[in-house]
Symmetry: C2
Subunit: 250 residues, 2 copies
DNA sequence: CGTGTGATTGAAATGCTTCAATTATCGTGG
DNA sequence: CCACGATAATTGAAGCATTTCAATCACACG
């Protein structure tokens, strides 16, 4: 295991990015890039990438206000994107998976912060060289444009989620998101494994860790799920969970 | 005044798009295009545009699920972008102004609905021809990519806004947004003119029209503002309003 | 096998939602 | 120009969900 927060760096050829969709609302630049770009385009991008390794446990990748020097793609591991209010409050914008892209800047600075949730390997694309590439390759641009449009839709999904009044429905939506991802949901045993804390979920859903815990309890009482451990959840009534997620009373 | 909901169409040369930033969180594709594109690029775009005129009063521009045939830009007037839940609830994603772009599609269909707030003149860009243009012109693409990135940041702002617990702060943020736009805020008399209803604001802030009204009352009691009429608001303590908007206790 | 972090639960206070009634505003036609 | 009617806004009150502070419990890690 890594014993420092500083990432280890190597410039060897990174593995190709081949993973699927992002799983949760990710209001930041985030989407699978593997199935949007051709192998040739991926190779072009990989040519300017540097591989970085980070340990688990909230290792900072960048912070709000930092000078933006690179765009990142996740090769392995999980990353949390958040913004912080002046009062110290935190709002989690998304949980990112392998294949997801993040690090969009504004006026040369990052507008949010990124930390690891688990040990992670990232690909870093220096902005300067990336920009150079973009003006040369229209095809690459069109794909990135498509990606950005998709991210906007994803952000809209979370906006609608936060627009829902009660946490009961928001939590259901959150869980349903995860059930669509093989890395976290095992259909055979109906087992869901959550990689983040209750506080992370609370900050994501716009509520507190306590309310999240209480609503897990409520879903359990209703027979929708069972908490094997806090992070290992067994889904007992997927149909009902989906009803709740889509806003229908339950 | 228009006497039908169908827009009148003409193919004469549309006026150039020259307005400033969008004013409110606009989770949909929306941003001033005038100051991002060169006159030549604007001319290229204008060449494939059709001008549409819509009356006021919630005239539908398109609805969720409609086949997406065009991208829209506002020449004059105001447009509301929203999504609807299966239970009939509505979540307003943004209020758009002249210069704003909207109508991003997913799988050939619109993912939200757009209606007028006031009489509006729109420029319609047929998707087919627009796509053609994009693969030919790398410069245009890079600008649209920048625009998309900006919209993502805007969506993030609204996410943070909705992440705030109480409506008091959310409403303050909402009002501060408007104070930055000359079309709605007159600094001389500290007068703010809101073009939408309390229900629109409620659906935007994730609450009800009643709670919005109550919080206007509360801001008035606190001496922050005065309601001349429901839609004409005089700001009496801008500093305090900004403190509230940034999350600091009031 | 301790120890610290995360999760859960309790209880009081607050804020929000909902239903309902009243009042105000604005566009329209007399 | 004023009156009218429809829509919007405000306010009241009861019920409910969430927040906050606090204490306890469970688990993972060393």
């Amino acid at each position: 295991m890594n014993d420092t927060v500083r990432p280890s760096t190597d410039t060897t050829k990174p593995r190709p990015m081949v993973r699927a969709r992002p799983f949760c609302a990710a209001a930041d630049g985030s989407q699978a890039i593997g199935n949007l770009l051709t192998p040739a385009e991926q190779a072009t991008l990989a040519g300017i990438a540097t591989t970085l390794r980070y340990p688990a446990g909230d290792a900072p990748i960048y912070a709000e206000g930092d000078e933006a020097r690179a765009l990142f793609a996740i090769d392995s591991g999980l990353v949390r994107i958040a913004r912080h209010g002046v009062d110290g409050s935190r709002h989690v914008l998304g949980f990112l998976r392998p294949g997801d892209l993040f690090g969009l800047a504004e006026d040369g600075r990052y507008v949010n912060s990124a930390e690891t949730l688990t040990p992670a390997t990232l690909l870093s694309f220096p902005l300067q060289r990336l920009t150079q590439l973009l003006v040369e390759d229209a095809r690459l641009q069109l794909h990135l444009l498509t990606k950005a449009a998709h991210d906007l839709r994803t952000a809209q999904r979370q906006l609608v989620l936060l627009g829902q009044q009660d946490i009961h429905h928001r939590l259901a939506s959150f869980l349903i998101d995860f059930c669509g991802h093989p890395d976290f949901y095992e259909p055979a045993g109906h087992m869901l494994t959550l990689p983040m804390t209750r506080l992370d979920i609370g900050d994501y859903l716009g509520t507190s860790a306590e309310t999240v815990a209480r609503n897990f309890g409520r879903l359990e009482q209703e027979g929708v799920l069972t908490r094997i451990t806090p992070k290992r959840i067994q889904i007992r009534d997927m149909a009902q969970l989906m009803r709740l997620a889509s806003g229908r009373a339950g």
